[in-house]
């Protein structure tokens, strides 16, 4: 694992296996004095309160983490999302992947996913587990508005737009699930580590 300072109040830690990111994030979040532990695709940023924790101490805690033994984020929680595969990019993705649209749907809906991290906007979860045949590039020019509930893919990830926003991912379908609700605890339906399945509706 690589660990490096990120300004005065944070460390950026990169586990050797990116699939360990959710475990490392949960472990960092559990440390007393860590204010925020944020995951990305490959790395975890642990932001600490210097009055309660030093960079040296946090570095040692992260370096000694046994990620294989501790999987605190992998609760047995699985969320099933009903999806209408009616996305604007379904045909183009099928063509790029040299599959039929039905095969794209079959591959997308048959995989087991897990939230590696949340980013981009509140409640937007980047899901691990996308079939390698469906790894496609983002649109070069993002759409100015992607509807809320759009189920989309880009690169190695699939995700769902929690609210209408600009976005460059390839749209495969739509779900009615409430991905983000500030009156709920937690407000995000898909939290880091959550397992996800898509069910064609």
């Amino acid at each position: 694992m690589r660990i490096a300072p990120y300004g005065e109040r944070a460390l950026l830690a990169e586990p050797d296996d990116p699939h360990d990111v959710p475990s490392l994030r949960a472990l960092a979040a559990d440390q007393d004095g860590v204010v925020d532990a944020v995951a990305g695709a490959r790395a975890v940023l642990a932001v600490f309160d210097p009055a309660r924790l030093t960079a040296e101490r946090l570095h040692a805690l992260l370096a000694s983490a046994d990620l294989a033994a501790s999987r605190p984020d992998v609760a047995d929680r699985t969320v099933e999302l009903a999806v209408r595969y009616d996305g604007a990019d379904l045909a183009a993705v099928a063509e790029a992947a040299r599959l039929s649209p039905a095969e794209v749907v079959e591959k997308h809906a048959s995989a087991d996913y897990r939230v590696r991290f949340c980013g981009f906007s509140p409640g937007f979860a980047y899901l691990d587990g996308l079939d390698a045949r469906l790894h496609v590039a983002r649109h070069r020019t993002p759409r100015t508005s992607v509807p809320a509930g759009s189920v989309a893919i880009a690169g190695e990830f699939t995700g769902i737009y929690p609210r209408s926003s600009p976005g460059g991912w390839q749209l495969l379908g739509t779900t009615d699930a409430a991905l983000w609700d500030v009156s709920r605890d937690p407000p995000a339906l898909l939290t880091p580590g959550t397992r996800v399945r898509f069910v064609p509706a």
């Binding site: 944020v38 949340c118 609210r163 937690p186």
Partner: protein
């Protein structure tokens, strides 16, 4: 209760923000110039993280519907007694003119602005749409009960500090050529007009990268100097997203971050390698 008579170019409610929610994709948000917001609160006897009004380039006019004790800090606006607690009689108004230097001014009201909190904060997050909408003429804002502390009799000095922004190289500094770090510290950077609470966008010589591949989305922080493909750095502000897809060359020292709130389009700034205590 106070009423917004005019909101100027942009006035929002801000407090200490939403630290602790970043893992769900929630930006920190909160007052951009945290020291100025904290000072305004201390002057009226509030806790330092009480919600205040953050106004951009002045233009804010408020009416006290009941007598209210207020203080204004940050960019010095003509028309307001600056850096001192002052009581507005019921029905009177306070007008903040356009500051000659600086960008963001803070108006604290004794008792704090107690609009509904979202995820433990009353801050407006312009990127995510969390918290109250930017304020408009006619909005009425509830004020909380007076705190135990009395308003301060102190007069705070108006300081708009200058000098280079100190920064530490970030883990992705190796995505840039060695010349890029020298360019960052040796160049004069002009603040672009499309700067906002999400980021202070800078104009100057493009910072050359040593590799062209795409960076997998990575967590970022306010204060990070993120460099998009055009090579011009963006100093991320409080409403920046929690992850970004471009490499970060450096992270600005905490002690200098508040000053990023006060640079305005056309201002020039410089950077110097070093930590906050230097």
């Amino acid at each position: 209760m106070i009423e917004i008579v005019a909101a100027g170019p942009l006035t929002t409610v801000q407090d200490a923000g939403r630290a602790g929610w970043a893992a769900l994709g929630v930006p920190r948000s909160g007052a951009f110039d945290r020291a100025a917001a904290g000072l305004a609160n201390r002057l009226v006897g509030n806790a330092p993280d009480a919600a205040v009004l953050e106004t951009t380039l002045g233009g804010l006019v408020v009416r006290a519907l009941g007598a209210a004790t207020v203080a204004v800090t940050g960019a010095p606006c003509p028309g307001a007694d600056f850096g001192v607690a002052r009581t507005l009689p019921a029905g009177s108004t306070l007008s903040l003119g356009t500051p000659a230097v600086g960008l963001r001014s803070y108006l604290a009201v004794r008792g704090g602005v107690v609009v509904e909190a979202v995820l433990d904060s009353r801050s407006t997050d312009l990127l995510s749409g969390l918290g109250p909408l930017p304020l408009r003429a006619g909005d009425r804002l509830p004020v909380g009960p007076a705190p135990c502390n009395l308003p301060s009799g102190a007069i705070a000095a108006v300081r708009m500090p200058s000098g280079p922004f100190r920064f530490a190289a970030a883990p992705r500094a190796d995505w840039f050529t060695p010349a890029a770090l020298a360019l960052l510290t040796d160049s004069v950077w002009t603040v672009r007009s499309d700067s906002d609470r999400i980021g202070v966008r800078l104009d100057g010589p493009p910072l050359p990268r040593s590799r062209d591949d795409e960076l997998p989305s990575e967590p970022v922080l306010p204060g990070a100097l993120q460099v998009p493909p055009d090579g011009r750095p963006i100093l991320l502000g409080p409403d920046a997203p929690v992850t970004g897809g471009y490499p970060v060359i450096g992270v600005v020292a905490e002690a200098d971050l508040d000053r990023a709130a006060q640079v305005r389009p056309g201002d020039t700034i410089t950077f110097r390698s070093g930590s906050g205590s230097g």
